[in-house]
Subunit: 134 residues, 2 copies
């Protein structure tokens, strides 16, 4: 397998600290959180505005990478399912995909709504949500 | 900056070979393509079905990682814009985010609709699209 090197561009600051207590998806009652970026990224950030809907891509650094199937939502009643048909954190490349809204801006800090990522989670990328939720 | 190692889990097989000729988004006339997975991933794939709508995450290996602002859609009339407010391939972590539909299955090969990724692009992850396009 070829491998590539991801660089952490920032970190999540959140009141969520325990995986077991975090919502599984942002729309399931996750809190607002800060995205805190490295200073050298200021130019990439400069056009973000309050109200923007964005994709936040994170590295789920507390996930297990050797897991190929799970019982969805950690529910033992669910059948064992290949991870590519689930949103499990545990997967070969544990990249988190979060759709959130920008609710505040303060220099290198961006406040977003409904983020289920844990405190300290590395941020990989930010993209605008396109028409039709893409 | 902390860094993490991504592992290529498969490759795109597509008729698209030149970046200049590829559509910028899958819904802008991109062709069907194959996702070809490494044999050790069979268990992660096993529940994918024709008709599923999925997110394909790729590593855009021909992108430039030192670009922080661009003129969107390579149009010189557009103002220089921070890459986190654009879907430019060129960005610190060039992760491609593609919403496609499974249209065929053949062992470790998954046929999908409307994929703008170039032939040979490394695949990082597959996730189901949730309700509301998340």
């Amino acid at each position: 397998m070829t491998s590539y090197e991801l660089r952490t561009i920032g970190r999540v600051e959140s009141t969520l600290v325990e995986r077991e207590r975090a919502p599984k998806q942002g729309f399931e009652g996750a809190p607002d959180a800060w995205l805190v970026f490295a200073a050298e990224l200021a130019d990439a950030l400069r056009d973000l505005a309050v109200g923007d809907e964005i994709w936040v891509l994170t590295w789920l650094d507390r996930a297990q990478r050797d897991v190929l199937s799970v019982r969805p939502r950690d529910d033992p009643r669910n059948p064992e399912t290949g991870v590519f048909s689930t949103r499990s954190q545990d997967r070969p490349n544990p990249i988190g995909l979060h759709r959130v809204r920008v609710v505040g801006l303060d220099g290198l800090r961006v406040r977003v709504s409904d983020l289920e990522a844990l405190d300290g989670t590395p941020i990989l990328d930010i993209k605008p949500v396109l028409a039709g939720g893409r």
